[in-house]
Amino acid sequence: MVDAKTCLLSVLLTGCGPGNVPYDYPPPPLMDLGLHQAPTYVARDLMPIRGIALVLAHPRLGQPAIRRAGEVIDVEWISPQLADQPATISLDDGTWLADGAGTCDGDGICHLSVSLPDFAPGLYGICVAVGGQQACSPHAIAIVTTYNDPATIVHVSDAHIGYDDAATTFANVIASIDAIGQTGPTPDFAIFTGDAADSGLDDQRAVFLQEIAELNIPVFIVTGNHDYDATGIDGHLLDVGPELDMQAMYGGLQLVGVSSGQDLDDGNHDTTISESNGPDSSELTWLATVLTPDAPPTIAFFHHPIYNGTLATIGPCSRDALKALVTHDNVRAVLSGHIHATGVFDADGNSRGLSLDADTVPSARWPLHYIASRASRAPGGYAILHVGTSRVDYRWIELP
């Protein structure tokens, strides 16, 4: 508990300290399009400026496809100047998967459905080659033999690589997650809820991705407010992936990730304290299509929490809308980070009667709102959740 209080101070000092500046925000073309249209921004603005001809959009290291052998994945790439040329999809070891031009829109954002051969269970890298260009991502495909119900999920948040010795602690966290399978079942996948790079810098993000690539399970990554710092969102769109929002399936479990955007504490919103400026209207419109009352059991995840004991929540512009979207009987859990302290709330925002350390959540209280503490605060930590059709539980693991 003392730790949580220390964290609160940390949020006050680092999360809201000097305030953000305009260049921490999404670039104007992306804001005009809407955050959900980030691939279009990448195609129209970022790739021409950077002289990039091909970007692999999905699946990627931070937005993997988890499938059984023989099932189909949707491969997405962006190639504005090569859109009419056929693509070759392969594993990163050269194993051929498919050829085809795919279906491309006017911005050169292309899709191709690929059936997965009878691979052995494990993680695989994928490459797309178009017009002599090639783009690859490690650990983009996870082949499983079965979809577990409930799924065992590792929830990690707030790496803040670049802040003091966060990189070392985060490396220990990754090693600890990888070691889970030595003493019990290997988790099915991980979810990282933002703030990879403390200052949004390329080298910080590179260290983060290097560590993430060490994980022996697939991981889904969304941005945090610090990932927007210092124009860092451009780097994130190229290094982590151009999709800021994602919808994925793990068997019958739907995963919905959203970038909750930069903090609103830009000097023009004096009543907010480290609240987000998102999700924006483009994201809320999309969310309404995937967080429907008849959707399968769902986990939603983003950086800023909806419920928080004191401050630092989803911004006032979209909080009520997002809260309504995730408050469905079929939403099992809402995972977030940002406040650097563990928090647990039920659907109504009541935290009483739920332990911060470990608990099983009765179905009447679903969705569980679980806020993971900062992974990279020594000695480091992460949460393990079991989420499925009829079970939701959680446990915080602190490294020794």
Binding site: N308, T313, F345, P362
Partner: protein, 159 residues
Amino acid sequence: MLASARASADPPLAAQLGGATGIGYASLAGAYRDDNFVAVRASVGIGPYVAADLRLGEDLDRVEPALGLGARLRPWQGECWLARFSPYVRGEVAVVGASHLGSNYDLTLGAGHWGHFTPRVRWLGWYAEVDAIARVGEVQTWSAHVELGVTFATGSFWR
């Protein structure tokens, strides 16, 4: 007489430090064992029967600060009862960071005893309370708490 004159010259102030726990109920959660709390209360005596309280509380199990304004009313003056047993009723309105900053309020009604461990040591006392708390706003719960604590008071407080 001299003692009484000295006491009346002091400002009627008191500080209290206490801990509380109890049970709660919410529509989704049902009945549950509530958290543990600590509270600091600064009080100003208004005559022999009333005290105004400013209370700062914190949940020991999670980050959930509370800032409350309240009042206590005792129907008997100490000397008319027993100096070390002084019952009172109290009410309080507190803003609580339960699910969102400023989105919740705790409305408290309670009853308690306030008194001295010994009549010879007027500055040190104790209190015990039973409170019923309705949380309104985004989170709606009912709670019943027992709070115990010590109190430090000037000689003129609730004389």
